[in-house]
Symmetry: C2
Subunit: 226 residues, 2 copies
DNA sequence: ATGCCAAATAATATCGATATTCTATGACCT
DNA sequence: AGGTCATAGAATATCGATATTATTTGGCAT
């Protein structure tokens, strides 16, 4: 039959892509614990597909540093550690500053629109809706950098963002940021960016990251001491 | 049959790994041209294995930015462009400086040994033996950074190095560096590093990269004008 | 009892075949 | 003649089965 079943375009066409997104999500939100063995057979039954797309998705996740491949003994989720967390945070600060400066110096009208819209959406989303909020939060931060003409740098920032978000989820609901006004921090960053004030924007952005970082780190050490 | 064929242990055990290394090499040295379609069937016959390891190797190369995956239309080698080249060079300068400073501040005795040895081997290798020399050249540069306690940063540097080396191969034998003494440049960098003089080492390293970069860029524009 | 070796078990890695999807060719209509 | 649509061909993506390789279990000797 020649009828093209333009089915639901919403659902990703390739099984590999579906598997990639599903497994990635499970790792990020902690549904799959750090260091957990990823058995093909188990994932097959969960995702209802053959082994090939699973393996391909896992291979993609290896390069995202979310999954480790063990010689000939399959896959497992990446381990976490305080030193890894500190490394991610430090790298993020360096690379995002670089990207933000490039982005601001090349920023155009379309960039400004994207930024304002993503900021608005993030502020409107209830914090209770964790996954959705995190998605919008990431979109805002990536849009800050999006005018930067360096795709590789953006890819690195994206990866590092995901690696970091994992620690936030693992810290879990303990995070209430009671003493901080996260909304205001974002708004200040956006305003500095819109003003093309690179120095201020970078300072605010890095403070934003480092504060959250210090908060999470404290949380981990508390956990470990318990 | 229960006979264990402990074949040659020297050859990589997994077909995926062999495919990965073989295809990567072909891309780096330009045997597979930029933008070229990578047909599974063709690679299957060349590498004499099934489609699965090929696909997995290609997927690994996607994350190295050496291969692009097109929605549902297979794989092709990454395109090259002057802007991509400039981006790689710029990123490399930033990240390697960061890594080199961290490396020097954490450098120990074993690091120094590795560095001296790899420098020695590189200097002894005849330049005519291109692939072997490039291997040793990479080893030297990576050893410079190897005391840095940031695995992710090292991974990025490694990736960027490979992306850059591809341009060198593509420029090909036109490169004779007539006006430069590459050997001396390396030796000077090593000496500054061994002295733990981070400022000098960084300056020399970045000059080294930027000079080669300017050289290659000139080569490309000449090519394009022909 | 403890440590080591061998068989059994489980999981991975790989292959060959099939179904789906893209691409190119050529007929048909305007 | 030019463009569009259907068909044929090629290539990919995916599945199910098999061979290989790691891991565990249980027996044996010390």
């Amino acid at each position: 039959m020649a009828i093209k079943m333009h089915i639901d375009p919403a659902q990703e066409p390739s099984a590999t892509q579906r598997a990639y997104l599903a497994i990635r999500r499970m790792i990020l939100i902690g549904e799959l614990a750090p260091g957990e063995k990823l058995k093909i057979e188990k994932l097959r039954t969960i995702l209802e597909m053959g082994g090939s797309p699973i393996r391909e998705a896992l291979t993609l996740l290896v390069s995202d540093l979310l999954v480790e491949r063990l010689d000939q003994r399959g896959f497992r989720t990446a381990e976490i550690s305080p030193s890894n967390f500190a490394e991610i945070l430090n790298l993020r600060c360096h690379l995002e500053e670089m990207a933000l400066r490039e982005s601001l110096s090349a920023a155009d009208h379309a960039w400004e629109d994207r930024l304002v819209i993503s900021h608005h959406r993030m502020m409107r989303e209830p914090r209770a809706n964790v996954e959705r909020f995190e998605e919008l939060h990431k979109a805002f931060h990536m849009n800050l950098l999006s005018a930067c003409h360096s795709p590789v740098l953006l890819k690195f920032c994206n990866q590092l963002y995901d690696l970091n978000i994992r620690y936030r989820y693992l810290a879990g609901r303990a995070l209430n940021y009671s003493s901080r006004d996260i909304g205001k921090e974002h708004t200040d960053i956006m305003n500095a960016a819109v003003d093309r004030d690179a120095d201020t924007a970078c300072r605010l952005l890095l403070d934003h990251y480092r504060n959250t970082g210090a908060f999470l780190e404290k949380h981990f050490t508390t956990e470990a001491a318990e």
